[in-house]
């Protein structure tokens, strides 16, 4: 049996180009949806159900590309990630797939805790552990539950703040992307990567808290 190595590197198609858009992060989501619907009406496989196989195949490829592109562009975070991938950044470290894989295999994912969060994360993990241990004994301490709920609210608020911050970085990006100053672009790109990493770290925390509270 041959061994297999899965290489997560993907060929990145330019989803902005699918919609004839420049690689800018601010976009008119209403117009995007209208274009998506309009193009779907013309290229969905339903419109080619009676066409010869070659045309059916081409329509299927086209409409899958359209669907994939719309999915990536309509969501602000996915859109930013896609742009960064186009700029050669590998976001794998923080991706949900990597987290899942690490959790499933029982290994700690090497994930860098953003330094400003160190203290809070330490506190939170203690509380989570206490809650889980308590639940195993069949009890749950209302103080811990309250503490976790407060922490969750706080993290939710910082997620919102990060999204706002991200949107201001978008403006910088959109301003420099066309003149194309390489150094400037690289600096803005790095800012976005750092922000997304922090965001995904907090999102994982929120998910852990939710799971612990729901269990």
């Amino acid at each position: 049996m041959a061994t297999e190595t899965h290489n997560p590197e993907t060929a990145t198609a330019d989803f902005f180009a699918v919609f004839g858009l420049p690689r800018k992060l601010n976009l008119d989501e209403g117009a995007l949806q209208r274009d998506f619907y309009r193009l779907s009406r013309e290229f969905h496989p339903d419109k080619f159900a009676q066409a010869p196989p070659a045309e059916q195949r081409a329509a299927m490829e086209k409409s899958s590309q359209l669907n994939d592109a719309y999915r990536a562009l309509k969501d602000p975070i996915a859109r930013t990630q896609h742009l960064l991938e186009l700029e050669g950044v590998r976001m794998e470290e923080q991706s949900s797939a990597a987290t899942q894989a690490a959790r499933a295999s029982g290994t700690e994912k090497k994930q860098v805790v953003p330094p400003e969060l160190l203290e809070e994360v330490f506190e939170l993990n203690m509380q989570l552990q206490e809650l889980r241990m308590g639940k195993q004994m069949g009890e749950s301490d209302p103080n811990i539950v309250r503490g976790l709920e407060a922490a969750k609210e706080k993290f939710d608020a910082s997620l919102n703040a990060l999204t706002l911050e991200l949107k201001s970085i978008w403006n910088h990006w959109d301003a420099v992307v066309e003149p194309g100053d390489a150094a400037q672009k690289a600096s803005i790109r790095d800012k976005m990567v750092a922000l997304l990493n922090k965001r995904s770290y907090i999102r994982n925390l929120v998910r852990d808290v939710n799971e612990a509270l729901e269990d």
């Binding site: 180009a17 066409a51 899958s64 899942q100």
Partner: protein
Amino acid sequence: MATGIQIEPLNKTDRVVGIDLGTTNSLVAFMQGEEPVVIPGEDGSNLVPSVVAMPAEGEPIVGNAARKTLVEEPERAIYSVKRLMGRSAADIQDELKFFPFRLAAEQTGVLKIKLGEKTFTPPEISAMVLRQLKRNAERFFGAPVTKAVVTVPAYFNDAQRQATKDAGRIAGLDVLRLVNEPTAASLAYGLDKRKEGVVAVYDLGGGTFDISILRLHEGIFEVIATNGDTHLGGDDIDNLLITIALDDIAGDMKLDLRKNGEAVQAIRKAVIEAKIALSAQETAIIEADLPGGQKYQRQITRAQFEQLIAPVIQRTVLPCKQALKDAGLKPEQVDEVVLVGGSTRIPRVRALVKELFQREPHIELNPDEVVALGAAVQADILSGGSKATKDMLLLDVTPLSLGIESLGGTVAKIIHRNSTIPASATEHFTTGVDGQTNVAIHVVQGERELAKDCRSLARFDLKGIPPMQAGLPRIEVRFLIDANGILQVTAREQRSGREAEIEVKPTYGLTDEQVETMILDSFDHAEEDFRQRQVVEARIEAETIINALEKGRKNPAWALLTADEKKDIDRLERELERVKCKEEYKAIQAATSALNQATTRLAELMMEGAVATALHGKTMGSAAEELGEGPTAPHPFAPAEVINKK
């Protein structure tokens, strides 16, 4: 269409019907003018019970007529076979406790069921139901029916979908599309009303449960999220009642009927009648004649019934909540709730739905017929549309995430659930050992983190990789979930540029050869019939591609082909014209397929040109000019550049 790619309307004889292949009942419908209508059977009934009986001699009996056999000779009849579609002997053990499925002694590959003296796979049995519907439609139209849209539960996985498609082929139907049942229901619901807004479809049928949340906008039916349970429905409620009755009988009458197929069927019939009565009355009586002339009788109140079924219907709550969560919606953001499936007649189910979505659900549609009516609407759309459907388009999603098993048995998800289909993902693989020429990929479906907890879909063996140093080959594999929700895989070794050969080992399911043998074995088609039908179909396909090519030559994309490509196409077309009149369908198929292959790039170029036109409002002519004339360059076309040019 302004795109230059035109589809000829079908001739009248090529009518496409819509079929609801249900666990308990099946229906066939078609679009009559602007209205979908159900085609009744010979007995005048719209519903064909999904019951098949196999007499000692003669043809299988389907529907109401088979019910008699079910009670009198249960070993010759089968119902609820939909529960077995796309499953293996190992994963139906739970079903065997409650359903009188008789597995064949020998189980290799696809599950085999004993019916009378013979054994059949679930797709073959479903094909008998489909064939009955086909006959009903043909009798109604007085003309052959060969094309259909068939509905499946939204939460059906790849294997279950493939099995349904196989059933269609065995029945002599070209299944143009598999449509998700709740989505089909929304089409029927949204047809006359020109609805806008968010609609939730709660579909609790005989054996399956689905919840789908859609956004309706100017004729576009966009599914945002779907969830469900493919083994939850009215059957489970019946089984609870049957268990009670059998326990009663064992206790009070000291009679163990658990292994008595006839008696269980008589009780089953009785509890179903009581269940149905309880939707309208406060009490009902379960009443059955038992062997030995004894009679079983028990009164049941609606309150008792509701308490009994609470755990079953409670199982629909979590999928609903998950679907709302995935859609990013709160219950109050849902504008309408539509009920589908016979089990939604139960008042407690309606109350639960009302509670969940905080609004009164729609009950004006016949929950037994609405899926078939929606299938007829989709059939009309696929036939090129009519006045009633010309602006309608269905954008459905894949219900389950698609993943690849990676090191350590974990799953790397490559297409997430609720992605609009067609959806695709491209992954790269390499070798781990020097000189390795094969790479195995295990594809699974499901949400769990470990491959062993997901549904194994298939193992793909990429073969013929040129021997190289480990890590050097670069095999690009494209996974594409088509509009039916079925996975298609293609692979290419990038350094050698060769199409990699893929051997697919479906974990469950029939091979093409097996399906072909089953078509031959099926009762309606003696070998000669089969061959003739194949010849006729092969000729139609040949005509289609020749006609399309004629149009393709007038398309600006034609000018972009190389001289060699054009010469090839011309030669293969002449070859097809030559073999078309012969009686050998395999030769016609081969020539059609060769011409199709040769025109693949032309079709892609036409599509790209049409997209450029649609995006920028250019005429095909000017779009083609921008693409540049290039009869000598092998690949003059770079889609991304064209689109950016504006």
